[in-house]
Every structure is written in structure tokens, then in C-alpha cells.
């Protein structure tokens, strides 16, 4: 995803000299081409995230469209008040980009686990929050984010995520993408959990279940219509995200579903338990610890469906 992002940003910067990139001394083997091709559109702020966001705001208020780039928590939580007061309150053209969303930097430690960032960014006024599901969405999202008028948080994985979209989908911020349609259950995924959800959805389909698979790449503003339809047209809604079950995609969907007046499906949020990890593990290992691997997700959904409806297919 970060490769798709930086390639797209490079292309955009070729055409639009307003597009700038500020990094917080991170991005080895990612940002070099941008820096050498666009020296006047590039800044390494050093290891100083508060200043990085302030610089971005100053540049944005004087005509630039500024992407900041850092690892999950560093570029968001460390400088949260700068993002709230300086970026969001001023509606500055600052696009906060985080790599390593979720457990992508699993074995580097809890400091590098971005597990609350979506919840926190989502709570800020004027902020758009985007967590693309695969490299195709990352490319489309980067273009859309430049065109968006106002602040944005773009949450990426790292490199090497599988491509889910065989062909380029219609993409608009705030409008979910339906990859599979069905009327039994809905799987709503954001970020890197789209690939897992895609495989689980196909396994459930093979078992005779009508599965609706939705990529909710924009967590804020969330696509209320897609959620409402899923909740009233299918019998169970599952959210899947590599983020705490509190306040992220699951929280956003729960908020919408709680206000649906018509009878509607129940919701199960599948995500990270809201606790710090105490065992070492890489992304694959820790996803399994949290039940986010394909096998466990499939089993979780099957158990809930069987308990609720007495059968899977």
C-alpha cells in the first residue's frame, strides 16, 4: 500500500507543484525518489512530529497541499493537539499519512502498534479518515485525498499487501465499495482486513451463504446508506478491522446501526481486543492472537450464524 501511495503521490507532484511531502525522518527506501525529483516539495522535519504538523499547516495556509508521513502513532497521537487545533480547526490542506496501520510492525513492539488511531482521528471535526483495503484502493484514495478540500487521515499498511480488486473499482471518498452481494450476512471491512474478509466471504459463499462484502475504505464520513441497507437487507452484520473494536470501523458502524428505527440485523465487531499486547509476534502471529486470521474469523462467523439461525448455509 505504501508503494502504491508514494508512486501515486510522485505522479501527482509531477503535475501539481502545490503537492508537498513532509516526513518525520521516516520512509527509508520509500521517499527517496520523491525527495530527489521534487526537492522544493519535500521536507524532512527530523524527529519532531509536533513541528512536522505545524510546518504542514503553515505551508497549507500559504497555498500548499501537504502530506505528512510517519509511522502509525508518531504522526497522529504524538502531535494530536496540533492535528486538532492547527490542522482541523483551520481546515488546513494537510493530509496526515500513517504507515504501519494496525499490527503491521508487530514484532517492533507496542509503541509501533497503531490500534487506536482511527478512533482518535475519527473523533476530530473536519477530519476525513480513510483506510484503503488494498494497493488498488490506496492508489485511488491518494488521488481522491489530493482532490478533497480539507484535512484527511490516510491510514496505510506497509508493503506487500495482496491486491483484492481484480479491476479498478469506482472510487469516491465516503462511498463504500460492494465487492460481493448477498442477503444472508454482510462483512464490512476496512484497511488490510479487506483481503482476509474477501477470502472468508468466498469460503462462506462456497458453503451456500449469501454474503455481501463491503469495503468501507472511508471510515469518516462513513457510508450510512450502505450500512443501513446491509442492516435491513441481510441478517447479520460483521465489521472487520485491524484496529481496536472500540471506536474504529466497528464503532462507526455500531453508531449508525443503533439509530436505525426499523427492525435490523445484529452486529458483531471483529477487531483487536482493546488491550496492549504482552507477547511478541509479527503481524501474522499477532493477528492470530486476536482472532483476526482467516481461519479464526471464518470460525467466529460460522459459530455466530449457527447459533443464531441453526445453520450456516
Amino acid at each position: 500500500m505504501r508503494t502504491a501511495f508514494i508512486q501515486t503521490l510522485n505522479e501527482l507532484a509531477d503535475r501539481d507543484e502545490r503537492v508537498c511531502l513532509i516526513v518525520g525522518d521516516l520512509g527509508y527506501s520509500v521517499i527517496e525518489e520523491f525527495a530527489s525529483k521534487h526537492p522544493d516539495q519535500f521536507v524532512n522535519a527530523g524527529v519532531s512530529e509536533q513541528n512536522m504538523i505545524g510546518l504542514a499547516v503553515g505551508m497549507a495556509l500559504t497555498g500548499k497541499v501537504v502530506f505528512t508521513y510517519s509511522i502509525g502513532n508518531f504522526g497522529t497521537l504524538r502531535c494530536l493537539e496540533q492535528i486538532r487545533n492547527d490542522v482541523c480547526y483551520h481546515r488546513a490542506e494537510v493530509k496526515v499519512v500513517a504507515v504501519g496501520g494496525g499490527l503491521a510492525y508487530g514484532n517492533l513492539g507496542v509503541t509501533h502498534h497503531a490500534s487506536e488511531d482511527v478512533a482518535i482521528m475519527r473523533s476530530l471535526p473536519n477530519m476525513t479518515v480513510v483506510a484503503p483495503g488494498d494497493p488498488v484502493e490506496a492508489r485511488l484514495a491518494t488521488r481522491a485525498v489530493v482532490a478533497l478540500n480539507g484535512p484527511c487521515y490516510l491510514r496505510l499498511g506497509k508493503a506487500g499487501e495482496p491486491v483484492v480488486h481484480a479491476k479498478e473499482p469506482d472510487f469516491a471518498l465516503g462511498r463504500a465499495i460492494t465487492l460481493l452481494d448477498g442477503s444472508d450476512v454482510t462483512l464490512i471491512a476496512s484497511g488490510g482486513m479487506l483481503a482476509t474478509s474477501d477470502r472468508v466471504a468466498r469460503a462462506l459463499t462456497d458453503q451456500g451463504l449469501g454474503v455481501r462484502l463491503i469495503s468501507m475504505h472511508t471510515v469518516k464520513p462513513v457510508d450510512r446508506q450502505a450500512i443501513t441497507r446491509a442492516a435491513t437487507e441481510t441478517r447479520y452484520v460483521f465489521t472487520l478491522e485491524e484496529h481496536s473494536v472500540e471506536g474504529g470501523l466497528g464503532g462507526a458502524v455500531a453508531e449508525v446501526m443503533a439509530e436505525i428505527e426499523a427492525p435490523h440485523a445484529p452486529l458483531k465487531r471483529i477487531g483487536l481486543r482493546p488491550e496492549f499486547n504482552t507477547t511478541v509476534g509479527d503481524q501474522t502471529y499477532l493477528k492470530k492472537v486476536h482472532g483476526l486470521d482467516e481461519e479464526t474469523v471464518l470460525k467466529t462467523i460460522q459459530q455466530i450464524i449457527t447459533r443464531s439461525y441453526g445453520r450456516v448455509g
Binding site: 527530523g46 519532531s48 509536533q50 495556509l61 500559504t62 497555498g63 496540533q82 487545533n85 492547527d86 480547526y89
Partner: protein
């Protein structure tokens, strides 16, 4: 902007002090001491230095002034109003329900205010970003960030001070309203800043120290900008908290208390007589 005479700048400073006293007394808000210490600095900047045009608040070539010590909002609004960005009558709205003029500097709906502030340590990084844009564009406009001394406790400022020195942002100017008193106590008893000028020099800044209540000294310092080639500029303005009202001067109390109507009258009389 044409240079103003010292007497005009002193008269402007008196008007700013009077506005701030009335506003804070009427609204019963804090920070009159912080307003009074920065009055002469703002009077000189708006009265003689800043290239701004109240008819075109968004003029791209304007100088940018960021009031990073956003708690002195009342006197910033007064300065902006006296500069013609809004009628001085609008100052009566200060901190009033339904108005636009919050108790900390607010840009939203207030022409002439470049940036909202109130949480300390936010202004200088933003100012550095603006200065970088101007420098890369080869533009002539300048950035002024007005800071408090207590605000120098914030690490974010030192991140930006490091950055501006490294990038040789000679179009970036900070004015430190060094009134020696912060929220709870004197600066030297809280977190010692001295030797402040040497610290800034060590970060690659050019520094000039002036009497922050001497309008001629302030004007000459600002007119000398940039002070040196390829260095950001720091004007350390030595000031007195509460300056202009004898019984407010140098007192922590007046970081918080609003003058009563009776106290307001004596304060206004002192300012008028000064």
C-alpha cells in the same frame, strides 16, 4: 508601510491598553497582565512594521503575524481593529455569548487574525512552515510570531527553533514578550530560561534584546530585520507584566483577575496619564 512617529505609536499603544482593559473588565476574563506587557510590541508592529492591508485580509503578499500567546487575545483583537480589519465597536463582543471573539485568539470569523491559538507552543511551527513556503517561492513577505516567555517551556517551540536555524529562515521573526512571569510564578522560579539569547544563538538564530516598552527601540529593531544573512531573527523584548497600570505591574494576580468597574476607571486614568 511608512514609519510612524514615536508619539503616534505611543498613542496607539495607549488605545490598545484601554481597549484590552475595558474588554477584559466587561467580560470578567483573565490575562490583562499579558495583554498590557505586549501592548507596545503590537502597537509598533501594526502601526509601523507589518505590511498588511485591512481591505484585503487574504492578500497573498501580506506579512503574517501569528499571536502564539493566544491568551492575550483581547489586545490582539484591539490591534487588528485599530489597524482597520474590523470596527473597534466590535471589540465589545469580546468573550460575549453569540459573538466571534473568543477569549483566546481565534481566526474563525475574525479578519486579520491569521491563526487561532490558546494552547501554547503551536504558533512557531506554523510560522516556520509559512516562512519556508515564502522562502522557496522567493517571496518578500515575512512571518512574525509573538510568543510569551512561559511558552518557551513547550518542546514544540524548540523543535521549530532547531528547524528554522537549520533551514536559515531569515524571513521568520519571533518576538518574545519576556515579562518574567508565567502562570503560577516567576519564570526564573519555574523553569529558568536564562541564558535565553545564548540558547537561541546556539540554535543558529540572530538575537537582539530591546526594551519592550520603548517604541523607538522596538521600531529600530524591527526595521533592522533581517538582522543577519541566512539566520532566523529573535527579538527578545524585555517587558513588565501589567505595564501601564502601576498596581498590576509585576503581579501574578493579574494573570487571572479581571478589574472591577471601579478598578477599571483608575486603570484607564493611569493609562491616559502615562
Amino acid at each position: 508601510m511608512k514609519p510612524a512617529a514615536d508619539q503616534d505609536l505611543n498613542a496607539l499603544a495607549k488605545r490598545l491598553r484601554s481597549h484590552a482593559l475595558r474588554m477584559i473588565s466587561a467580560a470578567k476574563t483573565s490575562h490583562i497582565g499579558s495583554c498590557l506587557s505586549v501592548a507596545d510590541i503590537l502597537a509598533v508592529l501594526y502601526g509601523s512594521i507589518l505590511r498588511v492591508d485591512p481591505k484585503r485580509p487574504g492578500w497573498p503578499e501580506r506579512d503574517r503575524l501569528i499571536m502564539s500567546k493566544g491568551h492575550a487575545a483581547a489586545i490582539l483583537y484591539a490591534a487588528v481593529a485599530e489597524a482597520g480589519f474590523m470596527p473597534t465597536e466590535a471589540l465589545a463582543e469580546y468573550a460575549r455569548n453569540g459573538g466571534q471573539l473568543y477569549g483566546h485568539a481565534t481566526h474563525w470569523g475574525v479578519p486579520g487574525v491569521e491563526m487561532s491559538s490558546g494552547s501554547l507552543g503551536h504558533g512557531l511551527p506554523v510560522g516556520a512552515g509559512m516562512a519556508l513556503t515564502a522562502k522557496r517561492a522567493g517571496a518578500n513577505w515575512r512571518v512574525f510570531v509573538v510568543m510569551s516567555d512561559g511558552e518557551c517551556d513547550e518542546g514544540s517551540n524548540w523543535e521549530a527553533i532547531l528547524f528554522a536555524g537549520h533551514h536559515q529562515l531569515d524571513n521568520l521573526n519571533i518576538v518574545i514578550d519576556y515579562n518574567k512571569i508565567q502562570s503560577l510564578d516567576r519564570v526564573e522560579k519555574t523553569l529558568r530560561l536564562e541564558p535565553l539569547a545564548d540558547k537561541l544563538r546556539a540554535f543558529g538564530w540572530e538575537v537582539r534584546e530591546v526594551d519592550g516598552h520603548d517604541v523607538r527601540a522596538l521600531r529600530e529593531a524591527f526595521e533592522a530585520l533581517p538582522l543577519a544573512a541566512a539566520k532566523p531573527n529573535a527579538i527578545i523584548a524585555h517587558t513588565v507584566k501589567g505595564k501601564g497600570v502601576s498596581w498590576m505591574e509585576g503581579k501574578v494576580l493579574w494573570h487571572y483577575r479581571a478589574p472591577t468597574p471601579e478598578e477599571l476607571e483608575t486603570a484607564l486614568a493611569e493609562v491616559a496619564a502615562s
